[in-house]
Amino acid sequence: MLAFTLKRFLQLIPVFIGATLLVYFLVFATPGDPISALSGGKPMTPAVESALRAQYNLDQPFWVQYGLYLKNLVTLDLGMSFSGQEVRDLLARAFPVTARLAVMALAIEAVFGIFFGVIAGMRKGKAFDSTVLILSLIVIAVPTFVLGFVLQFVVGVKLEWAKPTVSGGAGWGELILPAVVLGLVSFAYVLRLTRTSIIENKQADYVRTATAKGLSRGRVINVHILRNSLIPVVTFLGADLGSLMGGAIVTEGIFNVPGVGNLLYRAILKGETPTVVAVVGVLVIVFVLANLIVDMLYALLDPRIRYA
C-alpha cells in the first residue's frame, strides 16, 4: 500500500508539470500587456515600467519565467497578483469557499444519486424507474447556468426561501442553493450509474445465495448488492470532485460566490499568469489526489483488490 501510494505521488509530478506548463504557455501567449493595463493604458515612466516588469519576471523569456515560477513554488511562494496581493493569500481566502461548495455538492449528488439509483435499479422497468430516468436525462440536458438562473429566480427571488446571492463569508447555509445547482448534473450521472450497476449485480449468484440463506431484503440490498455496485460510482465521484471545483466558475458567477472559480475567471481576463497557474495547479492536485483516494477506496469496497 505504501509503495503504491508513493508511486502514485511520483506520477503526480509529470501531470502537474505538464498541466501548469500548458496553462503557463497559454496565458503567456495571450496578447495584451498586463503592465500597461495596470496604469489604465496611460503612459508610465520607463523606470517604473521596467521595475514592474522585473518584479513579475515579464522581461524574461518564456522558459526562464516558467523555471523561476517552479523554483519559487518549491518554497511555496506562488508569486504576486498584479494588484500587489500575494497569490497565496488570495488562494487561502478563495479555496476554502470552493472546497466547501464542492464538498456539499458532492455530498448532495452522492446521497440522493445513490438513494434514487438503488430504488430505480431494484424496480427496473416500473413507473418509478422510467420517471426517474427521464427526469435525469432532462437534468443532464439543461445547461447548468440555466438551472442556476431559474433556481436563483424561483427559490431566491420569488419564494425567498434562500438568499439569491452569497455574502463575503460564504457560510455553509448560504451555499446550499449554489451547491444544489453545482451538483445537479452529476446527481443525474450518479443516479444512472448506480441504477445500471445495481441491475447488473442483482442477478448475481451471491445475491441469490444471500436471499436463499434467509437474509432480509434490506440487508441483501444494502450490504450485498450495494457494496458490489459502488465501484463505478465511487470512480465517478472521485473524478467529479476535481471537475466540480474547476467547473464551479459558472455557478460561482451566478451566485456571486467568492471562490476559486471567480478568482480564476477574473485572473484569466486580466492575463494574470501567476494567479491562473496557481489556481490551475491547485485544481490539478485536487483532481489527482481525489483519484488516488478513489483507488484506495477500491480496496475497501472489494477485498479482492490489494495494492502490494
Partner: protein
C-alpha cells in the same frame, strides 16, 4: 451391399424419401426401421440461405422498435431541418428589432414574444439553431476522427505511443473542459477570429482525450479476439487487420459516447457564449440569446426560457439517441430477440 452407398444410387430422389427407406430398389438384407417422416428443412429453424445478420443489422432491428429512439430521431430530424432551412419555420426577420416592443409578451405571429431589444424571440431561436448544431456536429466529428485514430493506434500497437497517450490524457483530464476552453479562447489567434470554427477547434482540443481513451479500451478488447488472430494467421498484415477487423468491432462504445457528447458540446458552446467567450455577438445562437437574457431575467423570464428550451430539447434528443443506441448494441439488455 453397404459399400455401394458412397456412389449413391438414389441420387436425384427427394431426401425425405431416401431417409424413409421406402423407395430403394435394392434388396436390403437386414431390417431397417422406417425413419421419421418429417422433412429436414421443416425442423431446421436456422435459415441456411443468406448471410447471418451483422451486429449492426441486429441492433437496427431492435432499435427501430424503441419509442425512445423514434422520438429522439424525429426530434433530431426536425432540428436538422430547422438548421438547414430556418426561413421555412419562421417568416419573421430575426434581425428586425423594434424597441417599442421591448420585453413584450406573445402576440399574433410572434408566439414567444419579444426580447429586450424588441426582436422576435421565436425567430431568433429558429435562426440560432444552425450555429449551435454546427458546433455540436463538427466538434463531434473532429473529436472522433482525432481521438479515435490516436486511441486505436495506441490500443493496437501499444508501446511508446500508448505511454505518451496515457500521460497526455492525464494532463488534459486534470483540466476541466470549460476551464481549458476559457484559456484557449483568450489566445490571440482565437480571440481575434471568434467564429463558430474557433469554438469547434477549442472544444475539440479538450474533447479528444476522452474519445481516445474509450477507443483505446475497445480496441484493446477486440485486438485479442479469435477472429483477429485468425485474420493474421490467414496472412493479413497488422495494419489491414486493424482497419478491417478490429476497428469495426470496436466502434460501438465510440458511437454511443459520440452521440451523447454531441449534446454535451452544444451545452459547452452555450456556456462559453454565456461567459462572453464563445461565439461573437453578431452570430445568432442559443447560448448568446440566453446570455443576453440573463440581465432581463426579472422583467422577462421567458426571454431566457425559450432559447433554453430549444437548447435542452436538442441536447435531450441526442442523449436519448445515444442511450437507445447503447441499449440496442448491448445484447444483454436487448429484449424480445
Amino acid at each position: 451391399m453397404p459399400e455401394n452407398q458412397n456412389q449413391n444410387p438414389e441420387a436425384g430422389l427427394p431426401i425425405s424419401k431416401i431417409r424413409a427407406g421406402k423407395v430403394s430398389k435394392y434388396a436390403i438384407p437386414h431390417f431397417v426401421a422406417p425413419l421419421d417422416e418429417t422433412p429436414l428443412h421443416g425442423v431446421d429453424a436456422v435459415k441456411e440461405t443468406g448471410k447471418p445478420l451483422s451486429m449492426w443489422a441486429e441492433a437496427w432491428r431492435s432499435l427501430r422498435k424503441r419509442p425512445l429512439f423514434i422520438i429522439s430521431a424525429l426530434l433530431i430530424i426536425l432540428v436538422i431541418a430547422i438548421a438547414a432551412i430556418p426561413g421555412v419555420f419562421s417568416a419573421v426577420d430575426p434581425r428586425f428589432c423594434d424597441l417599442q416592443f421591448s420585453n413584450e409578451g406573445a402576440s399574433a405571429g410572434h408566439p414567444m414574444g419579444y426580447n429586450f431589444q424588441g426582436c422576435d424571440v421565436y425567430a431568433r431561436a429558429i435562426h440560432g439553431t444552425r450555429a449551435s448544431l454546427m458546433v455540436g456536429i463538427f466538434t463531434t466529428l473532429f473529436v472522433v476522427l482525432l481521438g479515435g485514430t490516436i486511441g486505436a493506434l495506441a490500443g493496437f500497437y501499444g508501446g511508446w505511443l500508448d505511454t505518451i497517450l496515457a500521460r497526455l490524457g492525464d494532463i488534459f483530464f486534470a483540466l476541466p473542459m470549460v476551464l481549458g476552453a476559457i484559456i484557449v479562447m483568450q489566445l490571440p489567434a482565437f480571440r481575434d477570429n471568434k467564429s463558430v470554427w474557433t469554438v469547434i477547434v477549442t472544444l475539440s482540443i479538450f474533447g479528444w482525450p476522452q474519445v481516445a481513451r474509450i477507443t483505446r479500451g475497445a480496441v484493446l478488447e477486440a485486438r485479442n479476439a479469435d477472429f483477429v488472430k485468425a485474420s493474421r494467421a490467414l496472412g493479413l498484415s497488422r495494419g489491414k487487420s486493424l482497419v478491417k477487423h478490429v476497428i469495426p468491432n470496436a466502434m460501438a462504445p465510440v458511437i454511443v459516447v459520440a452521440t451523447v457528447n454531441l449534446g454535451v458540446y452544444i451545452v459547452a458552446e452555450a456556456t462559453l457564449s454565456f461567459l462572453g467567450l464563445g461565439l461573437p455577438f453578431e452570430v445568432m445562437s442559443w447560448g448568446n440569446d440566453i446570455s443576453s437574457a440573463q440581465s432581463q431575467l426579472r422583467n422577462n423570464p421567458m426571454m431566457l426560457m425559450w432559447p433554453a428550451l430549444f437548447l435542452s430539447v436538442t441536447v435531450l434528443s441526442f442523449i436519448m439517441l445515444g442511450d437507445a443506441v447503447r441499449d440496442a448494441l448491448d445484447p444483454k439488455s436487448r429484449k424480445g430477440n
